[in-house]
Every structure is written in structure tokens, then in C-alpha cells.
Amino acid sequence: MSGESVIEIEGLVKTFGPVRALDGLDLKVAPGEVHGFLGPNGAGKSTTIRVLLGLLRKDAGSVSLLQGDPWREAASLHRRLAYVPGDVSLWPNLTGGEAIDLLGRLRGGIDPARRADLIERFELDPTKRGRSYSKGNRQKVALVAAFAADVELLLLDEPTSGLDPLKEETFTELVEEFRAGGGTVLLSSHILAEVEKLCDRVSIIRAGRIVEAGTLTDLRHLTRTSVDVTLGGSPAGIDELPGVHDAVVEGQRVRCQVETDQLDALLGALHQRGVRTLVCQPPTLEELFLRHYGDETGDEAGDETGDQADGQRGAEVGETA
């Protein structure tokens, strides 16, 4: 990590009447990184982004955006960033093309070639009026406007909600191009596949606080790997090793969960007893997040994240023993 942080938040508090939407939130985003911002519904992701945009006034804490104060220097900072909300609402009597031009001109101009290229890549019809666009097409209008802007930072709040898989692919490419050009991205998303593909680091927010932050590899180390082993010798004592949980012993066969940083010790112990077969599964991304989303064990948030990440299960993840 070089240079000053692009986003640096410490102890941010934002209340809406009795609701404490942000409760001492800390967030750091370094230049050039794509930072995933994850958390269950109502955790405070959009609120954080709206504070960063100077739309909401913070109640306590410090917030620095592009080394400036997002509340006082809102307008000048906005020229250096672009924002895509998850639920784009367009002017009903302006066409998509007019909206893109308007937003570009408000920033001081739009490159016609870039605009045309983006419209083509997203297959957007710019002649429709705001209210006749479908959900995904509204989203595309905002994405074209954002990627057409010449900026250093993208604040994306569930930007791909409603996009078809092909356009989502286009979005992924555009983010990668943007990062290759030195840009920084804060990406709030519920689509774990997207996060896994794009993000260098992630922060997980729950009830207005960051509960975990780091690279995906870091996070994996905080969770458990499942082990299914058949031994040559007696399995006695395996379940008493440090970091081993939920062990089920059936004759020579042992199934258990092991904290990933204790995996090496477990493998050593198994090796002493002679390994016949061994299946060792790293935690899937869902398991990783469910742990943080749900109450403690993660059984609560299953519905909202599980289905989106289906098919991603077990894919090209981490180290296997």
C-alpha cells in the first residue's frame, strides 16, 4: 500500500432519530485497490457511502475522502469521483442519452467516443425515456455515465443489481480496466462471485460497525476447514486437539472442522496415525460470509446470500491439503 488512503474513516457515527445506522465505523481504502464492502441488509453500507458523498452529515468520527472533507468540499471532490446507486431513478421525461450527456456536462464535459463505446458495450438504447426503461437498463444508464467520467474513484452501491450475466461480465471488465488505469473502487455488493472476482480487499459491516477487514485469503484464515479422513490407526485424541470442532468419529473415519490456522497441527497428528483417504475442503465464500452476517453461527442470513453465490461453491478457492 503506497501513498495516503483514498478513503479513511474512523469512528464514524450516524443516527437517524433513534436508529444508530453507523456505530463507530472504521474503513480504509488504499489507492489503486478494489475494495469490497459487504454486509447484511440494513447494515449501513449505503449510509456509509452517502456520508462519503456528502449527502448525509456525520454525527461523530472523522471521514476523509481523497484527502478532503466530503461534507465541506463536496462539489470539488465530486468532480474526482463517480457514483452508481443500486436503484437508479431517471428523469421520467428525459431520454437515457440525455441523462448521460447532462451528467457528463455537469462534470465539465463527456468524451463522445468513450460514451459511444460504453453504450455499445452495454447495448443500451439511449432514445428511451426514463420511465420506459427496464430496471437493468436504468442501471446501465448510470453505469455508462459513471464509466464515461474521467475520475480517480468509483463509489458503487450494488451497481449490478438487475443486470443480465452478459452485462455483468462487461461491468467486471470495465472495473478491471479502471483499476489497471490506477483507479480506486469501493464496491458494495451482495454478489459474492463478483466480489471474489474483483476485490483485492474486503470489509464486512454488521449493525453499523466493521466486523472484519482484510484480503480474502486473510479472511479464510479466520474460519474453519472441513476435514474428512479415514485413518490406519486409532482416531482417539483427534477431537481434543486445539482448534478442532464438531468432530464425528465412526470407527476409523473422522469428520471434523478445524480452524484454518490449526490445520497444520491437525495434519501432523493425522499423519502420525496413518492417513488412508483424506478430503480437505477449504471454507467456501458463503461460509466465510455467513459467519459474519448471521448471529454467530451464520444460519440467519442464509437466504439472502446463498442463492446468489450458488455454483460458485468450492470453485478455485485457496490452498487444499
Binding site: 449527502l55 468532480r79 457514483y83 442519452g97 440525455e98 450527456d101
Partner: protein
């Protein structure tokens, strides 16, 4: 059968949502009738005094244009009905428009309607449920009004007391029927366009036209009054030879409106209007270059609509000038405090009142225009603009400029329309200068109301409707201030009350500048507060 299933279920939900709103509108209407009736006893100690006042009112064209045909003004009931009926018919019309709008077009525009329609709900059920809600609302309003009149008791030396029960009931029932007609026209309007804003525009035009047509008719030969639901209501003649058959005219009118709405609804897709949205330009034109350009683009339609509306209203008032003179000829008692006894002054007095009415209409534009930023904010369009690097102040100033310039245009259109109307009837081109242009004096009080709106927008954006209450207050002060003997300090809260009644009274720059300063102060304070608050 199945096309209507679920109507009652929906109706119950609507009434739940609307119950407070219906209650307030009904109380307002009941209070107007009741207080007008009550005021007579306070105002006039003897029947002789009452007769004298009635005779002078009968010849006052300004009041006839504002209120309705002068009938039995020497009775308490006749006076109460005359003073209140047109105003309350407009109240009922506005209530109907909002009840219909929020349960039909607004639901469709937001997409909530689809959730409802996906349930076990007949195709026509949302339409019918909305109309039924409006019918219930109007019935409650009518009953409250009748109850208010029936509650007027007490010994009074004045003629017509106690009020005949049948006439009091008819005043309420007729009012409800009149509101139901406006519900039906609003329902038709809701089928025409995709946008709720445009729907309210169309329904508002219908209401305004109804009010103006009856004014033209009441001053002239009466034909035009028969084109207006308000005219139908007043044709029931409560307290002056009550007749019930105009009630049938209103019910038929409502049925025709409902039929038309159902027909139109059957020909369109849910979510769209009869007037379809066409594709537009793929790139933005030159005017969409700044947040000011956007503000103009967003308000253009409304500025043009209101300008035309005021021009037509002005024309209508202008063309009444002839009838005013006839009325003076007919009536031996055409003497009035304002007119000072001379025919010329009488015309000045009439146009003085007409200009205030036009200014109050223009205030409707000024308030809705100053409230437009809130709609932009609620629809999250504001954040897109801000995030594109536009400072908050610049954005709001763009809307402010459109509001001020638009208000000027709308107001002037009213005045010029009035001049044109009078000139067309009499060939007297001086009417523009004499009766039309002075309307500009009302720029200050109208902008004071828009300044109040801006202050509310900055400080309490959720309470923006209070600006409409303020406008209602100004109307009450103008129409009923003296009859109700509202205390001076209260009347002087209305910025319109501060202004001389041009052209009947001399224009005075001091109150103009004072009120303009208040407007600027309110607006500036709103702008400052907007800088400090959360968006959304």
C-alpha cells in the same frame, strides 16, 4: 363480477390511509359554512341593516364572479350558501383529485400497483376502489357540512332563522355530489397520462375551468354556469326555493365520467397512459447544459401550463367587464365600500378583486414550483446531480430562478389575459395598462409564499404541505376575512392583505418592497438551511 373482486378490500385500505385527510377537508368545509352562517348574526343587529347590506352585495359583480349568483342575500341561509358554496365546491374538488390521484396514477407510477394487482384483485378493482374512496370522502364531507349548518341555532332577528332543515341537508348532499363529479373527472384524467404530476395538472384545469365557467355564466346570461359542476350545485338554490333535480344532473355527470374512465382504462396497459411516451433524442440538446438548464427542462411544462391557465382565467375575468357594467345599470344599489359610488370605480373594484384572485392562482404555481426540488430529492435525482459536481447552492439557485421568472410570467399572463379579454369586449386597448399590468404588484406577496415554501424545504422538507395551508389561509382572509371579523393582526399575516387593491387603490411601493424583502429573507433562510441538512 371477477373484474371487481377485491374492490372492498382495497377500499378499506384506502380509507385507512386517507382517514385523517378526509377528516381535515370535511372539517374545513363544515367550518366555512357554519362560520358564514354564524357570522351574519354578529354582523347585522337588525333585519333593516341586513337588507341594506344585501342590496349592495347583489349588485357587486366582483363578489358574484367570486362566489356565485346572488340569491336571497337578505336571509341568513342565502348568505351562508352564497359565501361558502363555490369555495367549498373547490375544496371538495381538490380533495377528490388528491384521493383519486394517490390511489390510481401515483400507485401505478411508483409500481406499487403491480404488487396489488398480482394479488387476487379484479382488473377494474383498483379503479372502482379509488372512486369509492372518493365517494365516501365526499359523503363524509357533505354530511359534515350539513351537520354544521343544522347546528346553527339560536334566536336571531334576521330572516331565515332557524335554517330550514331540508335546505341545510341539500347544501351538504349537493356538495358531496359536486365532489363526486370532480372525482369522476379526476379518474378520467388519471387514465390519460403516465405521470401523476400531469394528471393533477389536468384535473386542476378541469376544476379551474368549472369555477371560471360559472363565473362567466353568473355574470352573463347563465348558460356557461350550466357547463360547470359548481354551477349545477349552486342551481339547487338552497334557502332560495330549493330544488332537487340538479342533483340528478350531477349524478349523471359523475356516471358519464366513470363510464369514460372505464372505457379509457380498458384501452390502455396498466402503468401507461392513453397518451403514449415516444422515443426521444439519443443525445442532449444545448439547453441541458447546467443544473439551471435541467431545472428549466423539468419545470418547463408546468410553467407553460400555468401561464396558459392564468391567461385563460384572465381572459374570462376580462370578458366579464361588460356584464359588470350591465349589472351597474340594472341595480340601483350598486354602491360598495370599494367603489365609492361611481361606475368607473365599480369596474376598478371588480378588477381589483379579479387581480387578487389571479394572484392567488399564480401563488399555486409559485408554491408548487418552489416545492419541485423536494420531488427531485425524493426521486433521488438530486443526488445524481450533486455527485456530478454541482454544489448544493447552485442547484437550488437554478430552481429558484425558474420559480421567480416563471411566477413573473404566470402572473403577467393573467394580467395581460384580463386586459385582452376586456379589450376584446369593449375595444378599449387602454385596458392592458389600466387593468392588466397592475397585477405585477402582486409579485411580492406571491413570491413571499414561494419563499415560505423554500424555507420549509430547507428546514422541514417533510412539512412542505404547510405552504398550501398558508395559501388556504390567504384565500380565507381575502374571501371571508371581513365577514368573519378576523382580527387585524391575523389578517395582516396574509401578504396579500398588505397590498393595495390595485387598480381600485393606488399602487404603493412601500408595502411592495417590504413584502418583497420578507420573501427574499424567507427564501435566503431556506437556502442556508438546505446547506446544512441531510439529503434524502
Amino acid at each position: 363480477m371477477s373484474g371487481l373482486s377485491g374492490s372492498l378490500l382495497l377500499l378499506r385500505g384506502h380509507l385507512r390511509r386517507d382517514r385523517w385527510m378526509i377528516l381535515w377537508w370535511s372539517l374545513a368545509s363544515a367550518a366555512v359554512f357554519w362560520s358564514q352562517g354564524g357570522a351574519m348574526a354578529n354582523l347585522y343587529a337588525t333585519q333593516a341593516e341586513f337588507d341594506k347590506a344585501a342590496a349592495s352585495l347583489e349588485g357587486n359583480a366582483a363578489f358574484i364572479a367570486m362566489l356565485g349568483p346572488a340569491r336571497a342575500l337578505d336571509t341568513v341561509g342565502g348568505q351562508a350558501f352564497w359565501q361558502s358554496s363555490a369555495f367549498c365546491a373547490v375544496l371538495a374538488g381538490l380533495m377528490s383529485m388528491f384521493v383519486i390521484g394517490r390511489h390510481t396514477r401515483a400507485e401505478e407510477e411508483s409500481g406499487r400497483d403491480e404488487l396489488v394487482r398480482s394479488g387476487a384483485i379484479g382488473r377494474y378493482a383498483p379503479l372502482v376502489a379509488a372512486l369509492l374512496a372518493a365517494v365516501v370522502a365526499n359523503v363524509v364531507l357533505g354530511l359534515a357540512t350539513a351537520a354544521g349548518l343544522l347546528a346553527l341555532r339560536g334566536d336571531s332577528p334576521l330572516r331565515g332563522m332557524p335554517l330550514p332543515v331540508a335546505d341545510s341537508v341539500a347544501s351538504g348532499v349537493g356538495l358531496a355530489a359536486c365532489g363526486i363529479v370532480f372525482s369522476a373527472t379526476a379518474l378520467v384524467a388519471a387514465q390519460l397520462t403516465q405521470s401523476t404530476r400531469t394528471m393533477y395538472g389536468i384535473a386542476g384545469i378541469v376544476l379551474g375551468a368549472a369555477y371560471l365557467l360559472r363565473a362567466v355564466g353568473d355574470l352573463g346570461n347563465g348558460v356557461a354556469s350550466w357547463l360547470s359542476p359548481i354551477g349545477w350545485y349552486q342551481a339547487m338554490h338552497p334557502y332560495s326555493g330549493l330544488r332537487w333535480w340538479p342533483l340528478a344532473v350531477m349524478l349523471v355527470g359523475a356516471a358519464v365520467g366513470l363510464g369514460l374512465a372505464v372505457l379509457l382504462f380498458g384501452r390502455r396497459d396498466v402503468g401507461s397512459g392513453i397518451l403514449a411516451a415516444r422515443p426521444g433524442p439519443p443525445t442532449a440538446g444545448r439547453s441541458l447544459h447546467s443544473s439551471l438548464g435541467l431545472a428549466w427542462r423539468l419545470q418547463r411544462g408546468s410553467v407553460i401550463g400555468w401561464t396558459l391557465g392564468l391567461a385563460v382565467s384572465g381572459l374570462a375575468y376580462g370578458s366579464m367587464g361588460d356584464s359588470v357594467e350591465d349589472l351597474v345599470g340594472d341595480s340601483g344599489f350598486a354602491v360598495d365600500a370599494v367603489a365609492g359610488g361611481q361606475a368607473d370605480n365599480l369596474l376598478d373594484g371588480f378588477y381589483g378583486t379579479a387581480l387578487v384572485m389571479l394572484a392567488l392562482l399564480a401563488a399555486g404555481f409559485a408554491i408548487s414550483s418552489a416545492g419541485r426540488p423536494r420531488a427531485e430529492e425524493e426521486a433521488t435525482h438530486l443526488e445524481s446531480v450533486l455527485v456530478a459536481g454541482v454544489p448544493r447552492q447552485t442547484w437550488l439557485a437554478g430552481h429558484l430562478l425558474v420559480t421567480v421568472a416563471g411566477t413573473f410570467a404566470v402572473l403577467l399572463a393573467g394580467g395581460l389575459g384580463l386586459g385582452a379579454g376586456y379589450a376584446a369586449m369593449t375595444g378599449d386597448l387602454d385596458a392592458f395598462r389600466r387593468y392588466g399590468v397592475p397585477v405585477v404588484a402582486y409579485l411580492a406577496p406571491v413570491l413571499a409564499l414561494s419563499g415560505l415554501t423554500r424555507l420549509l424545504y430547507g428546514v422541514a422538507p417533510r412539512r412542505l404541505w404547510l405552504a398550501w395551508v398558508a395559501l388556504g389561509f390567504c384565500v380565507v382572509v381575502l374571501m371571508f376575512g371581513d365577514v368573519l371579523e378576523l382580527p387585524d393582526w391575523m389578517q395582516s399575516l396574509s401578504p396579500f392583505h398588505q397590498m393595495p387593491l390595485v387598480p381600485a387603490e393606488e399602487f404603493d411601493i412601500t408595502p411592495f418592497l417590504l413584502v418583497a424583502a420578507v420573501a427574499a429573507l424567507l427564501s435566503g433562510a431556506g437556502q442556508m438551511a438546505f446547506r446544512r441538512r441531510d439529503i434524502g
